[in-house]
């Protein structure tokens, strides 16, 4: 179990979080929903250790086994896809090739990132995150600005990856209620100032259309229109 406890997190003297706790079980996918500016990415950066300017603590996470898929792929443009992967953890060429195959990136090992489409670059960045065999995977809007078929391919890849690493916890930021319901074990709707969990919902796995619609309405009702409403 991974637990982030924030006693206080200030952003330019304004308290963004106060007495906030986030908990993740092994293998669980938690999705954070909420308006822009409510601190979803901040939460990821706190967990990743990129932002250490807060009162609080993080327990149960081995930071050497943390994968982070940033909003933009952030691949090194001067290294090929394979070299980007082996940058974070040493691996043999066939291991890299197999991982790329799993992520529907066959034959891309020798490509430079600029030769990839956004969807491919995202998957390559996901492959890089998986190189460290993560205990926790952070995903910052992994499906945003992808066309629907590409987004679906990416979701399919994510589900396959979760089956392959059943112990891996996933913390995902999203703007899309449907996407959250389709993928998450638990959805947290964030909002308010300081930010709190406005609503929490565990989508029923394999729910029928009516049930999904009901869950969707529940989430949307809790979804505040702006960060401070």
């Amino acid at each position: 179990m991974i637990r982030l406890t924030i006693a206080r997190k200030l952003v330019a003297t304004r308290p963004l979080y106060r007495d906030f706790t986030l908990q993740l079980e092994a293998g669980e996918l938690v999705c954070l929903l909420g308006p822009s500016g409510c601190g979803k990415t901040t939460l990821l950066n706190l967990v990743a250790g990129l932002d250490q300017d807060f009162d609080g603590r993080l327990e149960g996470l081995d930071r050497c086994r943390l994968g982070y898929l940033f909003q933009e792929p952030r691949l090194l443009p001067w290294r090929t896809v394979a070299e980007n992967l082996t940058l974070v953890a040493p691996a043999r060429a066939d291991q890299v090739e197999r991982l790329l195959g799993d992520l529907e990136l066959e034959g891309c090992a020798a490509h430079y990132p600029r030769q990839l489409s956004l969807g491919m670059a995202r998957r390559a960045a996901l492959a890089r995150a998986l190189m460290v065999e993560p205990q926790l995977l952070l995903l910052d809007e992994p499906f945003v600005s992808l066309d629907p078929p590409t987004a679906q391919a990416m979701q399919r890849v994510l589900q396959r990856v979760r089956q392959r690493y059943p112990e891996m916890a996933v913390l995902m930021v999203s703007h899309d209620v449907r996407e959250a319901l389709a993928l998450a074990d638990r959805v947290l709707v964030l909002g308010g100032a300081p930010t709190t969990v406005r609503h929490q919902l565990s989508p029923h796995p394999g729910a029928c259309a009516d049930q999904r619609a009901l869950e969707e309405r529940q989430l949307l009702a809790a979804y505040p229109l702006s960060a401070s409403s």
Partner: protein
């Protein structure tokens, strides 16, 4: 490929032709023809003089270049990364940048004597501020996103330097190397002219005293050829290798 190398040589051939025409027109010792200069060059090469002087100059250029790059890159990157250090050292850097090369050379010769150490030190002091200013720009342009990537994946210091910083700094390093080489060898000649008893600069001094324009041109040509060779066979291949990701990605 043949067309490309022809394009490279063509402007130089045109210059040679112009020189020949001017030499015909002047027809005197003040402007010897290319053939005469080549004759002097061959004679200097056969007697071994050319290799001695060229070698000494190249050695000084090499040592001064390496030292100036090491110091300049370290200083420039540190200043680019640390605003407080930059605020402290910037006025000093601007001052150094504007001290005439000649002043540094004269002062070091006076204080240190006419020796090799003073000669090389004078060149290094002249060059370090240029390298530092260029690399400071480079360090300022380093992308913070890759910095956070390195932190998330716990990349080591060496990996950070080699795989994240170096590729971003390479255009700046190349610019500093190019302008560095051009500036350093010119200053080395002045240093040699003023206080050494060998090297291309010394030979130029000799040519000046004897009004031997052919000798002056022969040594100038020899050194320009060396610098051109460094550009073609060292700097340009390095540049192409560093830029491979840009060109391939453009296809």
């Amino acid at each position: 490929m043949a067309a490309a190398s022809l394009r490279r040589v063509l402007p130089l051939l045109a210059l040679l032709l112009l020189w020949q025409l001017l030499a015909w027109w002047v027809s005197g010792p003040l402007l010897p023809a290319p053939v005469q200069v080549l004759g002097v060059l061959a004679q200097q090469a056969l007697s071994g003089e050319l290799w001695l002087h060229l070698g000494m100059t190249l050695a000084r250029v090499g040592v001064a270049f390496v030292l100036a790059m090491l110091l300049g890159v370290t200083l420039g990157v540190a200043m680019g990364r640390r605003p407080r250090l930059n605020a402290l050292l910037d006025p000093l850097l601007v001052t150094l940048l504007n001290v005439p090369a000649l002043v540094v050379i004269i002062l070091l010769y006076i204080w240190g004597g006419l020796n090799e150490l003073a000669a090389v030190a004078a060149v290094v002091i002249n060059k370090v501020p240029n390298v530092a200013v260029t690399l400071r720009e480079g360090a300022r342009s380093l992308d913070r996103q890759y910095q956070s990537l390195a932190r998330v994946y716990r990349l080591g210091r060496l990996t950070l330097l080699r795989d994240i910083w170096l590729p971003q700094l390479s255009p700046y390093l190349l610019a500093a190397s190019r302008s560095g080489l051009a500036l350093i060898w010119k200053i080395v000649l002045v240093v040699e002219l003023m206080g050494r008893s060998n090297g291309v600069g010394f030979q130029l001094h000799l040519g000046f005293q004897m009004f031997d324009v052919a000798l002056i041109l022969a040594y100038s040509l020899a050194f320009i050829a060396v610098v051109q060779a460094i550009e073609w066979w060292l700097l340009q291949p390095w540049e192409q290798r560093q830029n491979r990701w840009r060109t391939e990605a453009a296809l």
